[in-house]
Symmetry: C2
Subunit: 125 residues, 2 copies
């Protein structure tokens, strides 16, 4: 059962938006669990994401709502969502159509992996 | 081969920190691909994360460096990292020791899953 309108209002009231009115939203492919991208939502974008079955962001650069896929066709269909323990970050599990990244890459983190020092249990730290 | 000091400087120069000097960092368990939490890094926290084998954040609430696990024992050992396509978000794959969340939950997103409307390909949108 999907949540009622009252439930959505409760989530919006609980969500802890930053001073700029935005909340980071991590987008994860629901089955492979790949992290695809991170976008930002204001209260209305969060409402639309929770109630419309598709992910809507607030574009910081364009200062407008941005429903993923309306231009590119690369929609993100909602499969699940959770706020974190202090309600200031959203995780959305999606079915990603096509590439998540505007570069054409599967995920925005595929473009240029770094090469950090690898840590391990028991190593000096 | 891990990156050289010059490589790290190049990454720090390329990273696109927000006006507050911080970059969101998504923390993902490297093998299960669970998204564990999101934290923030300033330039020095990013440097330490890339070079020390353990994840260091900048705590916005305490205004201090916060090496995950120093208090809790729940360290995050670095297994991989990537900046996204516009260099303003970091993804870190880690080996998480114990619980990632201060609540004792495995992940910060496990506490209270939401119940959004589920979308699907071919549905009216």
């Amino acid at each position: 059962m999907t949540q009622t309108a009252d439930d959505v209002e409760a989530v919006l009231a609980r969500a802890n938006f930053a001073a700029d009115g935005l909340l980071p939203a991590i987008i994860q492919q629901w089955d492979t669990k790949d992290v695809l991208m991170l976008g930002y939502m204001n209260s209305e974008a969060l409402r639309r994401t929770l109630t419309e079955g598709r992910v809507t962001f607030w574009s910081r650069s364009r200062q407008e709502f941005w429903r993923k896929g309306d231009t590119s066709g690369h929609a993100q269909y909602v499969r699940g969502a959770a706020l974190d323990c202090d309600d200031d970050t959203l995780l959305v599990q999606v079915e990603q159509i096509g590439a998540a990244c505007h570069t054409g890459a599967h995920a925005c983190f595929d473009v240029d992996p770094l090469d950090p020092v690898i840590g391990g249990v028991g190593e000096p730290a």
